[in-house]
């Protein structure tokens, strides 16, 4: 039984807090698939201007003007309790989108870096950016494509020279339960990284 009514636009009025998780990774790595697997609403997409300078804002309908570079932002939603809603935002990892997702990562309770085991070193650049500019807790998830070699967590950790405190897990972005495990692991990590001295 599908307990999620995908036609439901609005949240229950009891919801008081919203949190977000950023899912970042290269094109075709499965970000939109992951978001679609867990979202209670049909995943939404909005265009975001990359550079507002020179954009003609007189007519808001004109923002799709060819001179404006835009990035598509995919997102989904999970109502977790009467009180809390979680949003998942997917962002492409390419260099030209960095400013976009670094700002999206601001205020995120965590970041999932989704990697393709067949092209694992593609994630190097993104990792550098994350380490340099993003404070949010990070988890690396390897989307286990059917024809991809299966690497262990420690092999992936080694190829990406990840610090020991960054969790690495495998997942199937098409599988709801697998994706929920990824998100839960990230939150567990965020929780354990939440040192008492950071509490006020």
């Amino acid at each position: 039984m599908d307990s999620n009514s995908s036609g439901e636009r609005y949240l229950p009025d009891t919801v008081q807090e919203s949190v977000k998780i950023l899912v970042v990774g290269g094109f075709g790595v499965g970000k939109s698939t992951l978001i679609g697997s867990v979202s209670e609403i049909a995943p939404l997409r909005t265009e975001e201007a990359l550079t507002q300078a020179g954009a003609d804002v007189d007519d808001l309908r004109g923002v799709d003007d060819k001179s404006t570079t835009t990035v598509a932002l995919d997102f989904g939603r999970l109502t977790l309790s009467e009180h809390v809603v979680l949003y998942l935002f997917g962002a492409p990892g390419q260099r030209r989108f960095w400013d976009q997702w670094v700002s999206l990562a601001t205020g995120a309770i965590g970041v999932v870096l989704l990697v393709d085991p067949r092209r694992i070193t593609d994630a190097f650049d993104v990792l550098d950016q994350l380490e340099e500019k993003v404070d949010a807790p990070l988890l690396v998830a390897a989307n286990q494509f059917d024809d991809a070699p299966v690497y262990s967590g420690s092999e992936i950790r080694q190829s990406l020279t990840l610090p020991d405190d960054v969790p690495v897990i495998g997942c199937d972005a098409r599988n709801r339960s697998s994706c929920l495990t990824v998100l839960a692991s990230l939150i567990q990590h965020a929780h354990s990284a939440h040192s008492p001295k950071a509490l006020r």
Binding site: V15, T46, A49, Q52, H194
Partner: protein, 116 residues
Amino acid sequence: MIGDDGRRRRPVPTYVVTGGRTLPTRNALSVHTLLIAVPERPLPPEAGGEQRALVSMCAGLLSVAEAAAHLELPVSVVTVLASDLVDSGHLHTRAHTAAPSRGLLEEVLHGLQQLR
């Protein structure tokens, strides 16, 4: 009749609302900030089409990003519009959490485990 201070009587065209600004100046809205219209505070007749569409989209609780996607407007534009409508008392926001407490993380985790 808008605002007890009477300062918002004049129409505010969209190009004035967003003109030259790419970031809201007064209140910090994020993509996941939740918005809801204030029903007892209708927009003045001179309000712009985008403001009207946004307030009507916020008849129920939803995020800045959802409002933008449904209205087919960029998030940055909706953020600026919503920011002004919050200032003028036509939209309310609910907390978007940037630095979650352990308790909130536990609630999120519990929610995810329930769905699994």
